[in-house]
Symmetry: C2
Subunit: 189 residues, 2 copies
């Protein structure tokens, strides 16, 4: 299997930091669902998980998904249907990992991402090399919402991916833009 189909994405809404360094559950953003699903489909990613423990938010995501997969949207825009077929809601990171294990028979390795530089990070080229070398291994790329993934999540990562640098002193991409660039750096041709 090519590297991209052994990678899934999780957009994590809990646990993440808010602006005041408190651990919170963020609200789901409609365009996060669409943009990241479209990027995931473009680069051949296996699955796109929206992780939120909030039942009302899960229902909202499911409603959007069904609109585009089975509802009016499916006929209006079949290309959007193809993207949102990758979408799945899970209550926690562990539930997403269990789903990957059920699908593939393998425990996925966690790739943690964030805008701040930290020690021991792997470069995009480095991760690409690892993924090509470990030909049966599955990976789950974690994207934070709000002010980013908490330390608890960072500490669970098998790999910490280097932050995206644009060569300036400014490094505040949206999670949608960051996801697109990450997938392009890993799988784009």
């Amino acid at each position: 299997m090519s590297p991209a189909c052994r990678l899934s994405i999780a957009l994590v809404h809990y646990p993440v930091w808010n602006k005041n360094q408190e651990v919170v559950a963020t609200a789901v953003t409609n365009l996060d669902i669409h943009d990241i699903a479209r990027s995931a489909r473009t680069f051949g990613v296996a699955r796109y998980y929206i992780v939120t423990p909030l039942a009302e938010q899960q229902k909202l995501v499911e409603k959007i998904r069904q609109h585009w997969i089975e509802g009016w949207g499916a006929g209006y825009n079949p290309k959007r249907k193809m993207a949102l077929e990758l979408l799945q809601t899970e209550s926690s990171l562990d539930d997403a990992l269990r789903d990957i294990e059920a699908r593939t028979g393998r425990r996925a390795k966690l790739v943690v991402t964030g805008a701040a530089g930290r020690g021991n990070s792997v470069s995009f080229a480095g991760l690409k090399g690892v993924m090509e070398a470990e030909a049966d291994q599955h990976y789950l790329l974690l994207l934070g919402t709000g002010w980013g993934l908490t330390e608890e999540v960072f500490n669970r990562g098998d790999y910490l991916l280097e932050p995206i640098s644009g060569g300036s002193d400014y490094n505040h991409l949206s999670v949608r833009s960051a996801a697109a660039i990450m997938l392009d750096r890993l799988f784009g041709r």
Copy 2:
């Protein structure tokens, strides 16, 4: 000047195609403003133009800009202020070109983009090479909304940039994701 500060972006809301191959003016999307401004700032781009001939839409963009530059948002999120300082509304592509000429003394070359492959396109590496070789030249990268830029705009392009391929048969990125990937391919480190 580094290549990125000789490039501006225009998000074109007119003239573009709609789903039925009619020429229309699309509505401005709030997250297009924010996401592309943040990407532009991250990669050191000179200016980010929102091109729309509709006065009400121009007012909306201006209201959003002022909220984050001078209003409540400026104190709440100074990083967002830094990004939206690049933002400027223009009524037409020619007005954006005139603004660049007024700022730089140079007529910008037009770089046209689209999801469909066409003949005579320049690769990302090719455009990067051109921008490094022509050290005084300014460029305006045109991004279409709706179903993409019209033939009239394509025919004005000095360069037609190759479409982004993710190696799959699916090529339907959001304009926000496409902009992020383009800037990363041209200026990312």
